[in-house]
Symmetry: D3
Subunit: 164 residues, 6 copies
């Protein structure tokens, strides 16, 4: 039986930490589906399709990784995909509390779903999409934190470095 | 001397965890006043009157529980009610930090007020109004997490389950 | 009906933070019983009787505070005393996690018991018996942190300040 | 390819939370090896062989679960077993910090090993072997927290309930 | 060589805790530059110039403290000022996580910058600009928490105490 | 005026994280004194003199770093050395709580002392002396985590790798 995992998120935009987590998930599962939440309420910087495209470029062509958008209840989505594992990255304590709440909620909504917490490489331990956008908005160099395609897209959005 | 406690919150909407906390408070105090903050800045999903009505239906008619709205400084409200205890639920660490700040602030504003932290039943330990609304907005079944009246109200707001 | 609370601990030795918590508990309960755990496994610095005596001297004669030792299951002790509230002080996050575990365990052992978390005055927020003993062991001046009787007892134990 | 996970611990003694975690792991892996650390430095209450026996009785005969002792570097043990996943339960924040340190250390010692954090059922969220032993040492009823065999063993160790 | 530190923030408005931190920084550095972020996205209550003026009045005329606004990448600003230390106050755990992320991010953007965490006096440990504004918006007395000039400015913004 | 900092600890043994912190401190202070606590109660693995020698070898000869043992109240030691800053590394949340308690205690004992928290490089963020000793006791390769001299000393203590 093929074991499938879903790795959900807003990925606005994808970071090296997210890519690292996909690689780690592939050691444990036969297939990983990156499920990008439409999340219009959060007013993402990048449109859903852009976020999908960036993640695809970052990962490259792979037989066992699928990247797509979704806009429904996560547990329904997973059932449809016949996924058994819900992948989440763990970085920090505040993360952890919220993640635990979400995991217990999802278990209540569907008890067949098992949330699997993985730890990104420590060099990516502090990277969040938010902090990347904040640095990039002032022209900070984030090329060691996000895939090349994201560096380009951020530069287009925010322009070049602002002088103090 | 009758000991009165105030249990303040936005309660947007009331959950089973909130109801559980009222029950627990009644073991310790002679009367509990649920004080629902108007909180227009937070843009609540439900209007103040709706939130009051839902909490009242959830609790039922009881001689020692009062439910009302308020829109002033909490410590002033408590003084007017001659309350000695300020009830707060403790769930998680991030909670705890914020709660401690609020409790110290309230003590500074009126040192006669004692914040009393109680722990909800562990089966409600992960429920927040926010997480309930998020699940319900996609049609998730939250009937084990909130009173029946809230299930109905949420369904009206968000409609039926969305397909993936 | 008289509401009784039990405030359990090792109190090795009592600090100003503990005394502060007794005062706060008296606003909420008709009677507070300070229950000092024998705790021989922890190898306390002071014998049980000494710990009882120090707490009594620190509190002084009061009609609504009782101080005694105990060496049995806390929930059994509370049932015998007809206590409804179990008082615990909350200082820090690590505290909080352990306290929450204990509270859920005690609830499982006897669901009639309600743990009530109170916050000590912020000027005592960092004081623990352990940190006091550590400072005192090198002759540090802890007279602003513990009752006078404790200062004397600690000085007897550890002698005068050591030179560097 | 068969995916094997190792679930290491002292298990002194096994609790319902540990058993729950084995069940959850079996959803994700083809085989789970419970690896019980000899850990003589920690002075466990039960001998290694007793801890192995109790876990075996608790789990029952199963083709995809193996239970054995080990007394070497965990990453060496896992390599020998050809395991890809290292299972750890996540309960609370203090846990989390320590677990993250251990996981990063193990990754440094062998980068092929992936630590997988799973969440026990919330009804076991507060149970630790330590808290169980503490309650049992005073005769507290822990039969809803540990397997039947452990209840019996603890009773033998600690005798019947002590009066206050 | 003169050692310069930058203490960045939104300071909307300055509190006694911020002033306390400037004093502490002056023990360690030869000059402290308070760098007030324009931060238009956060929609501050006070305009940048007002925030600068309030901080200046709060600190008074001092040769080794400079207060100014900035609207660029913090690490660029610091390089221009030839600053070696980036001062941040540490209050609570949630703080700590975010602060650590920011500090690691800034180190990545410029590895010559060292973030220095200092602890405000415990009497200010719970004060944040946010909590002060919330209390003041209902007319709460915050005169023990913020400089006199801020009390006046808040009163102008929010008017007198609202009745319950 | 020369600014002196003290970096106290048990350093049993020194790790790369400790060395990193000394380097960072030297950017901020004119002189750093590494003060190694005798700490006989903790039963260190290495004798005080060994710990001093290992730290000296790890740092090498430097005019602005001094390494010595101490066995008295830290604040007294610092006063004698005319030190203004007390350096502490911050790694994780549990750390943070304890560190904050110690810092407030030291401030109470001598209000002229300012505790300065620095963050080690993220690649050392999980290393503690304890975790290093645990890995080394089973023959784990810790050569990327501690100075070369410590690798040698640990090997002498614990012998070669144990087979599973």
């Amino acid at each position: 039986m093929k074991r499938i995992a879903v790795y959900p998120g807003t990925f606005d935009p994808v970071t090296n930490g997210h890519v690292d987590l996909v690689e780690r998930s592939l050691r444990l599962f036969d297939e990983v589906i990156v499920a990008i939440a439409a999340n219009p309420k959060k007013e993402p910087l990048f449109a859903l399709q852009e976020r999908i495209d960036m993640f695809r470029k970052a990962i490259g062509k792979r037989g066992n990784v699928m990247i797509e958008g979704f806009d429904c209840l996560l547990v329904d989505y997973m059932k449809e995909k016949k996924a058994v594992g819900l992948i989440r990255g763990l970085r920090a304590v505040s993360d952890f509390e919220y993640e635990m709440q979400m995991a217990l909620m999802n278990r209540r909504l569907d008890e067949d779903i098992e949330t699997v917490f993985l730890m990104p490489s420590e060099e990516y331990s502090f990277i969040t999409s938010t902090i990347v956008k904040e640095a990039a908005s002032y022209g900070g160099d984030v090329s060691s934190l996000v895939p090349r395609i994201v560096v380009q897209k951020l530069r287009k959005k925010f322009g070049s470095r602002q002088h103090c």
